[in-house]
Each structure stands twice: as structure tokens, then as C-alpha cells.
Symmetry: C2
Subunit: 192 residues, 2 copies
């Protein structure tokens, strides 16, 4: 059925992008991966750029599922939740790798393809907001701008570390350690 195929294509796109990059995504390889014809991809997504856009959306939705919705935990829970959600980026599981890779690719592609920027900016903002929110639950007295700045730094750092990890420049365990310590450092900053 239609919806299933659509989804299969998006899942396939995430896999192919993780394997070849946005730059390396070939419509025919995607078709094979998803078990459909190229024509069907064009039918559903109009063109290559459309595939990219929807895949980005798909991926960020999927990443949202990582974040729990519990809003009423105490500071201790928030701290654990924060670390959990940030370190989730650094796991050698296929889906996580896919998400990280695809996210990095989309970010990098957006430098040259302005059409991608809107969605990317939206997703980034949401992410920053979520992190700022968690920080705020740990440091209830910290002013909002400081929380946002810390969240911006943490998320940007995560992206930087993630790319280094994926490009083989940084072992996974070390990346996790650096990220974890960054949380400590920023929380210290937000203390007074």
C-alpha cells in the first residue's frame, strides 16, 4: 500500500545516506534498497531534492522518539535524562549511526543547498530548546538566555564530536567522555 512504500523509501534513503552520504545518494541504488522502481520514488517525492527533504524530516522525527516526554521529573532525573539523550548520539547501533550520519550530511549539504536550510533550522531549534529545557530543570534559577547559550554550545559540540567520530578521527568512548564532561562544565557554568 502507498503509505508503506513511502515509508520503505524513506527508511531506505536513511540507510543509503548513512552508507554513501547525501552526495552519494543515487536514485537507482535507493530504488533497489527500498525494493521499488525509480519511477515510484519520483511519483512520491517529485525529485531528488524532495527525497532529501522528506528524509531529513523523517530522520528528525525518528530522533525525537529518543527523547522522553516526562516533564515532571526532579533535578536528578533531568540530569540523567540529559546525559542519556546527549550520549544517545554516540552508540554504534545501526539506527543511531544512520541518524547521526544523515544528520551530519544534511547539515553539511545545507551549506550549499539553501532549500535544505529551513527544515534543518527548525529541527535544530527544537533540539536546542529541548536541551535548554532539561538544563533548566537541573538549574531552575538560571536565566533563560544562559540556558539557551549552554544548549547551543552543547548541541554544536555534539555535532562536532559526532562528525569526528564518524570520520574515524575520534574513538567512540572518547567522544562520549568529552560530551559527558561538557555537560558537567556547562552545568557548573550555570550554577551561580
Amino acid at each position: 500500500m502507498s503509505t508503506d512504500r513511502r515509508r520503505a523509501i524513506l527508511e531506505g534513503a536513511a540507510r543509503v545516506i548513512a552508507r554513501r552520504g547525501v552526495r552519494g545518494l543515487r536514485m537507482e541504488e535507493l530504488a533497489t534498497e527500498a525494493g521499488v522502481s525509480t519511477a515510484l520514488i519520483y511519483y512520491h517525492f517529485k525529485d531528488r531534492a524532495g527525497v532529501l527533504r522528506h528524509t531529513l524530516e523523517f530522520i528528525s522525527d525518528r530522533a525525537d522518539r529518543y527523547t522522553s516526554d516526562d516533564e515532571d521529573g526532579g533535578a536528578h532525573d533531568a540530569r540523567r535524562e540529559l546525559e542519556r539523550s546527549l550520549l544517545l548520539e554516540f552508540q554504534d547501533l545501526p539506527e543511531v549511526r544512520e541518524n547521526s550520519t544523515a544528520w551530519g550530511e544534511l547539515r553539511a549539504s545545507a551549506v550549499f543547498e539553501p532549500e535544505l536550510r529551513g527544515d534543518l533550522a527548525r529541527a535544530t531549534l527544537t533540539w536546542i530548546h529541548d536541551v535548554a529545557d532539561l538544563l533548566g530543570r537541573i538549574r531552575p534559577t538560571a536565566p533563560a538566555p544562559a540556558l539557551t547559550a549552554s544548549a547551543e554550545r552543547l548541541t554544536a559540540l555534539l555535532e562536532g564530536l559526532s562528525t569526528r567520530w564518524l570520520s574515524g578521527a575520534l574513538p567512540l568512548a572518547h567522544a562520549r567522555e568529552l560530551a559527558k564532561e561538557a555537560v558537567t562544565v556547562e552545568l557548573e557554568r550555570l550554577r551561580d
Copy 2:
């Protein structure tokens, strides 16, 4: 003369890559940009991959010139030098933009092209080392591992912020501010 043309091609390649990305580099556009024929590019660099390799080398050599060599400044100078060298990444000057863009492209491409990883790792290590060195001059009593960890976080953050800037997700001034504050935060961390 031969050497001039070679150089013109490499400079042109840096500009084109900054504008279109590694993937967007077209041999013909490069030829026009450099004022030569496509055939000459192949004559000098064998193929497209050769152009890429030599351009990346060209660019990292050029970026080295940014870093000053003065080794004997006091803590105050070191702090300024640190901020200067880190914030240098965030300027809207053609050459800086070219270098940042190409660096980001290189980093992103390395995720899928292992051949690129060696050079990249080397250059990254040098950078981390330089930053750790400056941090050490400001905090002479801090242990080396802590200095390295801070340098790793700062440089990874820079890469993250840089990509956000170049992809239009983060205004230049804001990126500078976040980077500057990150220096403060890390130096605070290294205090005790």
C-alpha cells in the same frame, strides 16, 4: 608558465569549492574560474580526485599561515592569542570562508572516503595540540590530559559552530559570542 597555471587552478578550486562544495565542483566551472581549458586541468592533476587532493593540501598549507609562532608570550598574550586564533574561523572574508568551507567539506567527505582520513587526522591533531599549548600557557598548573580534553572540546565545538554558521543556521556574531564564552567556560574548568 606552468607553475603559475597550476597555482591558478588550485586557487580557483578553493573558490569553487567554497561556492559549490566538493560535490559541486565541476571541471568546466573550475576551468572558467581559473581561466584555462579543462584539458589543462587534467594535464596537471590527472583527474578530478587529483584536483581535490591537491586543493585540500593547498588549503591546509594556507590555513597554517594564520597561526602565529610566538612561543614566549605571557598568560595575557596567550589568552588573546587563543581567542584570536579561534575567532579567526568566524570572519566573513573570502579566504577565511573558503578555508572553513573546504575544511568542513573535507571533514564531511572523510566520513565516506577513508583515503581522506589520514591527512585530516594529522591536521586535527596539530590543531588540538596548538590549542592545548595556548591553554597551558594560560593555566600553567593544569594537568596535560585536562588541557588536551579542553582543546578537543573547543576545536570540536568550533567545527560544529562553523558548520552551523556556513549553513545559515547561526549568525556570525552569535557564533563568535558562543565560541568566546566557551573559552571562558573551559578556562574556568581548568582553574583549580
